[in-house]
Subunit: 238 residues, 6 copies
């Protein structure tokens, strides 16, 4: 039995509110247990300098935690004049994950800005951000198709993410903050609906881990991400 | 008739959701029409250097707009390595307004951090932030009284804020974004429940304005802030 | 009787030295009591990006205090890598005040940079900066007219500023530093020669203030700004 | 046959020059093919604030590429006033990897600073940095043991790293820059001498990858890291 | 004949106004031709970290040009978030020059901050700053002696500076901006009253220069600095 | 006898390894005693904004010390968000020195970036950097001539640098760190093969110095730089 009564392979309750912010072309509030993230997708009619003239678009992501989102107030990056290493790592992961399922050549010379702002954190903010911003991105792209800005949906796959870890020797999925803080091993997985891997990042926080443990975590992650993608589909298409 | 069907002295619908974020000692989501701001109040057990040893506390505020909160994506201050002038002005106003109704000597040597994060902007974000963060601060202080951290409520007055302006020659209250962009004169008022002024900032955006116009705006603001403070009381003491 | 022997409605001695810096198109040293500010107006033959192609000019202001201008040395903003909130507020106020009396469409696609550097501070630096930089701006624009760069003077009004406050229950005008530090209420007023308001910013530093007090301060400010504008006219035209 | 004539599971030639810099307590030049990294380990007699009084030490790493290390000159991070996201990610990985094999409680209240400066880059700089800085760290700790600063070696495991990837459908180890740029899948592995995983980071750069592909890469990485650790042992103990 | 009618070895008119700023312990306005610099000396009752507990004081200098001081507006360092290389070089030179004539052990554990703010520039701002700030420093130290803060004057020598250069093959002293811009060789000299060298910095701007040319410039500088120190003495003691 | 057994006019052993970094058009490792600096010269096919359209090229230099290069770890400039004053001074000196022997009009509209990264410091890093980067620059330019990018060698002179100083009353050349730290007078000289001066910077660190002492140092520097330029020629042409 886990700290919050879940089974080892049980995900926390997930909720996605679409069209959460009126100005963005796509926006959701995603809730995974007590973790809450606002994800918006906004269009900018230009590409970064390194893509100028390449006849393709770009998708980029930014991630930030509100000061009140954590137990001890998190001071704003802007005050220190530099971005937190962890923040940087996370927003790069979100950007890569989303780009891997978009055919950028179908976007036109424009950038889709994904913003993931954590308003309440209880573990798994980066994976919630990936899962939620895929929905926001899907909505933004649908809007663009409807308006004739792009000819067809540039999405090649569904994508979602979750965390897996080893806590007191047992593989667990979707760790809440307290589990995460005490986990021996921590792994984030990003997968497609077909069970293929887009990104895998595993760290032996307290100790190295064996290939057998890795395999167990992979299986747990794959099974869970399938459920999450089912949930995304229901939300979007249902 | 105004753009959204309101009368000249009519406030937009206001809603305050208390205990919106679980980690903060006080937190609200305040909605004023389509303007939505998360306000949190968090305790830090130390004071800024200039107050060390003065046997009093401090209240300070930060304000930020999420990138997706505005029509055109607002790029994050942290990326430019400096804080926007308007942001600076607003957070200083929020801090001064709240400090003016707190007896800092009753706080103990601790800081109350007020964070106002705008998740959707439609005019009047700074005044919504003041009105909402007063409620968050009140909740945080009540919690501190309940836990015996402070002996008695250090609040000396209720405080709330609204905007007034002159649009096509007519004084209006609580301007939405479209009204605000076209107003000839723009004024923010912060007042106590007794109708006394804490802060007044009026700007002739398009043209100078007369003392008669100032008086009309003052009357409109006073009448409106009384309604807002009634709403705060209902929310808090209800 | 005030600390420096003035009557309540008495301004400090004011002096304006024109053409103070040889490189600037307009420049003054303004002295208001012991407050001394160098104001320069310089032309740049381009506009900020947001105005490109709008067939109009721009006026922008920067404000800074020299390290030696205050009692305790003020460390330079550049060393902290960010601009002081108060500085930001003041330079935005100066810019808005001057723009409000300039017909920007007559300037051509160029920027007038106003720099206000305080070399000695004794209260009222921001209002002295507005009063002085109007003269510098007037001189720069006259030069531009003389050189045929602009067809006619783009100035629509004279503008000047002063501070008013409530000190020991009494409304005072043009507060020196010591009065300002102890004032219960502090207000800055920017007005035209016709007695119309361009900007008003009042703060209850020690306590909220009533509308009656506001009215008294307004009257005091209006009477004083008229005198200051007379002085500007004498300086410029006399 | 690979681009440089290697077999799929063949590592590039590796060389480690110990005591490369005279001032550092431990220092190496590690060469992996044409990739060259200077790794130094230096002692500072204090710990970061979050560890004060915890009676343990800390190991932290910084990584940077010299401007001349890459084909197109890499401009210095200091000039942009912020650290590159990729750099941040890499130095966090190096720090975590080394900390995972050190018993920090045996270090005393001091910090070991690991600096990895890439003087020539040809793929695999982060894994070379981990492999090399383990040797530098080992030397620094040996020196500390010899001087009686620590009682016994605080190292619990050997650690080394390599990259694996999928290039034209084939799993390859230790990718040079040209292979890396064209790889469909890219994975960095950090392992102990016992074949346990410390960190694994796999990215589907061009396409998602299957679990079968992951397994092949894992096997290739494990076999290679064993060889690298043998080489480290020879270098250090041999 | 020089551009402004001077002889080759003729200094520009020099004026020093003492007690120019009321808050500083020492302050002057120095005018050298059209170059005008405000120099202030202010006391801070602590030393920088590297001197804590060394029972000595410190003298440090900062230099800045007001935006309006030059022909083309000089944008503020604070806006670029970093200090200009030239500025850095100059303020380090001023600091070294003054420290070389102060017995820091007689200062007590305090810092003397020298601020040199150029309000109008016409060549030779750094040497004017050295000459002027020596006077400001002398005044500040006299005040400290008078107040009993230090027992005896910690000044060991008078110090002043001037520029020399080679312009159209001829050695000139105290170059104005136009001469300086066209000089083949540019040299700044800082010397004591005894004709000893504190600092010498010569640059072949347009071409290398010979030892014979160096000797001529040295003689010219020595003769001129003697005159300047006479002027300082008259100002201070006269 | 000097601390390391050298005679007063004896240079430390010097070694230059050409083509040290494969990516740069020119690159050397220069060793002067225990001082080791990597100097690279890289071509960028554009000029800085202030030279656009001037039909000439540019040479600019950057200098940095690796954290492990000094006895006490030197923290990276990028972490403080600003460049060290000493670093700024040095890189400006390197740039000026190299530009003085290049005919920029023969370069075409391109920039040659010189990067000097100190991997081990034992005094004289700036002069080693100048001496070494001249060789790297020469190699880069030869390559450009060979490829037909420039028609003829744009080098007008050889240039090299060394330090001289006065230590315990005696003039010494090429000071190592320990000598440098204790020197009364410290001077850096940059000269051409013809014995002409490009740059001279002398500082009385502990006391002012006489013209006689300056002359002795000049002679010592001239004699030594001749030897260094002979060594450069042998390296390059030999």
């Amino acid at each position: 039995m886990r700290i919050d009564g879940r089974k080892k392979n049980e995900l926390r309750p997930m909720a996605v509110t679409r069209n959460y912010i009126k100005h963005a072309q796509g926006s959701v509030l995603i809730e995974v247990g007590d973790t809450k993230v606002i994800c918006t997708a906004m269009i900018e009619e230009k590409v970064p300098p390194f893509l100028k003239g390449h006849k393709q678009g770009w998708v980029t992501a930014e991630y930030e935690m509100l000061p009140g989102s954590t137990n001890t107030r998190k001071s704003r990056d802007r005050n220190r004049g530099k971005i937190d290493g962890r923040t940087m790592e996370i927003q790069r992961l979100i950007g890569r994950s989303l780009r891997s399922v978009i055919d950028l050549s179908k976007l036109g010379e424009r950038t889709l800005w994904i913003d993931c702002d954590v308003i309440q954190a209880d573990g798994g903010t980066r994976t919630a951000a990936i899962t939620g911003s895929f929905v926001a991105l899907h909505d933004a792209l649908s809007n663009m198709v409807n308006k004739g800005m792009v000819k067809e949906m540039p999405i090649t796959n569904f994508v979602a993410a979750t965390s897996v870890g080893i806590h007191q020797g047992e593989p667990l999925v979707d760790l809440c903050y307290e589990e995460d803080s005490n986990a021996e091993v921590d792994m984030n997985m990003v997968m497609t609906e077909k069970g293929e891997i887009i990104e895998i990042q595993g760290t032996g926080e307290e100790r190295p881990f064996s290939k057998q443990e890795l395999e167990k975590m992979l299986a747990l992650g794959e099974e869970s991400i399938k459920k999450i993608i089912d949930f995304q589909k229901e939300t979007l298409l249902g």
